[in-house]
């Protein structure tokens, strides 16, 4: 898990670097700070389970084991990218790995995920669908509509809320009377709610594993809220310091999973510093290879703009 | 629904008009945009379009009748709608009597049994061009008709358009037999036996209009002519310099532009020539609008440059280029004002090598300046015989507006302006 954590962190840092160089364009939303949440949520899922997520999706894609080279190539807009260069940072898909997309309209991925869960119910599988969304999405109509649908139809779905306390630049307390507290939010829908510290990868993983087991067995929805924080701005265009106090960012940075988790591993004797250094080298090599792959991949042919419009 | 057809206002200053000829008969089907009748104003003859579709139920004012703007001319409507009973009103209007009386009578006739509100008055008629197939000099035709005409080698302007709005359509081209035009016969003069094509030439509506307007001008306006030779040597070299200076801006000043400017400047000085004779007075115009005779294939039109008194020479060059282009149907059509608001005109046959000619005044203008070609001619200049670039200019003037001496003074001013061309830009 530490390797994955490091992979995501380095991947995001590298993306930022290549955004500055102009190799990555468009909007770029980095997952730095939230790694423990995504890894703790996704790693307990089985290969047959489905994941649907939002536009801050690189971390989820890496956690799901999507090919680092092909994610990076998609960032670069190359034809070797997962979406052949036509999706971009916000739209990472790998249908074979049941990774059903980053979605860029806030909250729009929720009905889609409900539909995938509906298909599992229809096909009578034991497959679990997990949908990620942020605190910002909770004020969208689709959020409430989908919770109601999942509740009334008892869909096998995990609503995984990454509560990073800011919907872009708006603190959740400014747009929601109850502020960041979602413990009672599911009362109206009679959906079981779990809250977890999103900076603690072990806690997230344990809570999620329990939820997955429950959904798989009971075929009913669960809502997980993980409290987390992005250390960087909303997108690469946002320094992230206009709407947040420096002290708040620093406070959360002191809980950086990339520091606390390896410390814990060493403390419990599960790894040595030299083990961790080896992993770091390994990760750096993987990222460097991904950048090479993306840089050296061809641009799509112009004719490919007309492919994949219709089946 | 019965719609009234009323005498259109074909210009802001038009008060009455004459129905020259109805182009539809009672009982004919009328589509919106169909030409209903030829209306003669004091300036020109235009075709009045139908603003409503239906059957031409009744013609109230017959051919040759004169009536004030707004007078009832005819009814268009469905076959079974009742016509207002306005017989008396019509006979009143027919002899061109008071409009008020007519309105009263119409209201009276309506009173006994309330009728549906009449449609709101038709919008102010848009410029109806002189001939059905020509709008601002542009032949109105469908793309298919144009393609067919090109394949058959027909001149579209010669094909009568019978489609909606006078458009030349496929059927018009297919049923067209080319008539001999006023063009070289193609018969070699040296041939042993010369055969002469003696068939008649059908006149287009435009040619008929030209015939009517010129006859009216010659019969109503007593023409006389003053001619002078203008030394254009300075003007030609001035123009060459000017155009060299203007080369980058893309503007080119023509000889004709200089003539228009020189004429407008002369009229500013002698404003009597910017009037129209009207019974007991000369009606003044507050703008000098110089008509420019343009020979189109379909016939002559004389659209005017509006407000030349405020134009620089370069303005004139730009405006006349634009006017000419639109007259030929490029980049829009001519406006009603341009077609009817000229106050004095020019005609230039220089490009045909003509030395001297006298033009017919475009009614109700006061005169027209006709110029021939600029040619190197031996003349006495500073006591010596030298070759100068000479051009003959002839003013045809309406004697009711001014006497010969006055026209001579005007012409001299034009001549002076051209011979001292710096004046044109000062």
């Amino acid at each position: 898990m530490y390797r994955l954590m490091l992979l995501i962190r380095r991947f995001e840092e590298t993306c930022g670097q290549h955004y500055s160089l102009g190799n990555i364009r468009g909007f770029l939303h980095l997952y730095i700070g939230q790694e423990a949440t995504g890894i703790g949520a996704i790693t307990p899922l089985e290969a047959r389970d489905y994941i649907v997520t939002h536009y801050r999706d690189h971390g989820h894609a890496l956690a799901r084991g999507l090919d680092t080279n092909r994610i990076m190539a998609e960032m670069f807009g190359k034809r070797t990218g997962l979406s052949k260069g036509k999706g971009g940072s916000m739209h990472i898909f790998d249908a074979a790995k049941h990774f059903m997309g980053g979605h860029a309209i806030v909250g729009a991925q929720l009905p889609l995920a409900a539909g995938i869960a509906l298909a599992q119910q229809y096909l009578e599988t034991d497959v679990v669908t997990m949908v990620f969304f942020g605190d910002g999405a909770t004020n969208q109509g689709t959020f409430h509509e989908t919770l109601n649908l999942a509740s009334v139809w008892q869909l096998p779905i995990i609503f995984f809320m990454e509560n990073n306390l800011y919907g872009m630049g708006s603190a959740v307390g400014r747009v929601r009377l109850q502020g960041a507290d979602f413990s009672d939010a599911m009362g109206a829908y009679d959906i079981h709610t779990v809250s977890v510290d999103g900076m603690d990868v072990v806690a997230v993983r344990e809570a999620t594993q329990a939820a997955i087991d429950k959904v798989r067995a009971q075929r009913s929805p669960i809502f997980i809220e993980a409290r987390t924080f992005r250390f960087v701005g909303h997108s690469f265009a946002d320094p992230g310091d206009q709407y947040r106090e420096r002290s708040e960012v620093d406070l959360w940075r002191r809980r950086d999973p990339l520091v606390s988790y390896p410390n814990r591993l060493i403390e419990y004797g599960l790894a040595t510093q030299s083990d961790l250094d080896d992993l770091a080298q390994d990760v750096d090599a993987e990222i460097a290879a991904a950048v090479d792959f993306a840089s050296n991949s061809p641009e799509p042919e112009l004719s490919e703009a007309f492919d994949d419009v219709y089946a | 629904m019965i719609h009234e057809v009323t005498m259109p206002a074909m210009g802001a200053d038009m008060t009455e008009g004459t129905v020259v000829k109805w182009l539809k008969n009672e009982g004919d089907d009328v589509a919106r945009g169909d030409k209903l009748a030829e209306i003669e104003t004091d300036k020109t003859v235009v075709e009045m379009e139908a603003y409503n579709a239906g059957i031409l139920r009744k013609i109230v004012l017959g051919d040759g009748s004169k009536a004030p703007v707004g007078s009832l001319l005819a009814y268009i409507g469905d076959a079974d709608d009742a016509l207002p009973d306005t017989e008396d009103a019509h006979s009143e209007a027919q002899i061109g009597e008071s409009v008020e009386a007519e309105v009263d009578l119409v209201l009276e006739a309506v009173e006994p049994e309330p009728q549906p509100e009449p449609e709101p008055a038709a919008p102010v008629p848009v410029a109806a061009p002189a001939a059905p197939t020509v709008e601002g000099g542009r032949v109105k035709s469908s793309p298919l008709a144009r393609r067919l005409a090109m394949e058959k080698g027909y001149d579209l302007a010669a094909v009568p358009g019978t489609g909606p709005g006078g458009r030349i359509t496929r059927d018009d081209v297919l049923s067209f037999t080319p008539a001999p035009a006023f063009a070289p016969s193609g018969v070699a003069a040296a041939a042993a036996t010369v055969s002469v094509d003696g068939s008649d030439i059908e006149l287009t509506t435009m040619r008929q209009a030209i015939a009517r307007v010129t006859v009216r001008s010659k019969t109503e306006a007593p023409h006389y002519y003053v001619t002078s030779g203008v030394d254009m040597t300075e003007a030609m070299s001035f123009r060459a310099q000017l155009n060299a200076e203007l080369a980058e801006s893309g503007v080119r000043v023509s000889v004709n532009d200089m003539i228009i400017k020189a004429l407008a400047m002369a009229i500013v000085k002698y404003p009597k020539w910017n009037t129209t004779f009207h019974e007991d007075r000369l009606e003044g115009h507050d703008s000098i609008n110089i008509g420019v005779a343009i020979a189109l294939e379909a016939g002559l039109i004389v659209p005017a440059l509006i407000g030349v008194q405020n134009m620089s020479l370069v303005d004139v060059a730009n405006a006349s280029k634009d006017l000419g282009a639109r007259a030929r149907g490029e980049g829009g059509s001519l406006t009603q004002e341009e077609l009817t608001a000229g106050t004095f005109s020019t005609s230039n046959l220089g490009m045909f090598g003509t030395d001297t000619f006298a033009a017919i005044i475009v009614p109700p203008q006061a005169g027209i300046l006709a110029v021939g070609a600029v040619k190197p001619t031996p003349v006495v200049h500073d006591e010596e015989i030298v070759v100068r670039q000479m051009m003959n200019a002839t003013i045809s003037a309406d004697h009711r507006v001014g006497d010969g001496a006055e026209a001579a003074i005007l012409l001299n001013e034009v001549k002076d302006n051209l011979e001292r061309p710096l004046r044109l830009i000062l």
Binding site: H103, L112, A117, A311 | R32, A145, G163
Partner: protein
Amino acid sequence: MAEITIREAITLGLAEAIETDESVFIMGEDIGEYGGAYSVTKGFLQKYGDKRIKDTPISEAAFVGAGIGAAAAGLRPVVELMSMSFSLVAFDQIVNMAANLRYMSGGQIKVPMVIRAPTGAGVQLGATHSQSFETWLAEVPGMYCACPSNPYDALGLLRSSIKSDNPVIFAEHSHLYGSRGDVPQDYFDIPLGKAKVTQSGDDLTLVSYGYGVHIMQQAAEQMSQHGVTSEIIDLRSLSPIDYDTLVASVQKTGRVVMLDTARRTGGMMSEIVSEVQERAMDWLDGPVMRVGSKDVPWPYNRVLEQDILPTADDVVEAARQVIKF
């Protein structure tokens, strides 16, 4: 061969799909217990059960989106909107999700889904219930749009729509549910994007779809009394548009009048007019005319509403701009 209504044809097509393809299910507001707002799915719940026939909450964005998700996960949902006007509530799901998913996933995800909806004005439902947004949706790449005018086409197009691996907007004009026509017993289908020449003629091409085709027939009859013979083209699909059939007809007649029962401005007919003049300029014997509903919100008042709707007289009037009769 049997004469049935469009409603019966659609019912037939849906029942057939449910019975022959286990991945097909139907969902929408009040399609089960209630039997459907236009009774298309009457009796389905009792016959096929609540797994195949799903009543949904009044929650268009959620259940249209759920349809997309189910399609992405391998099923073939047929989603019914109670009115095409309600598509607005689910527009993000339809356009951003259903139409774009395939493209932005680089072809990894397909969305085999049909969205059926009654459309059109004329029954005094006022501004919010009378709109014809199939003309908006037909512009979106990644989706198809079918608009049947008769029972035969309704069944043939519905079969193709359900079998399509792409999302299809299936617009059913509310005036036409009771419209009758012959439908053969033997299986047939009608490919999306194939127009039909429903009447042959030499003087004028009349183009429409759905209910507009019926107006065109009236107009053609009126004009035939003046000796004008019209060729009527039923587009049947607004996406893709069968331009080959259109252009072939224009090359024959040289004259075109198009009719959209949706609003005239910005409708698909505007697009088609543009394309036809690009492709067939040298065959045109006059302007390509476009008739549509007037550009105002739909009024409730019957007289006003009828005045806004295009009529055969409007078509005849437009035709007089291109041909004299």
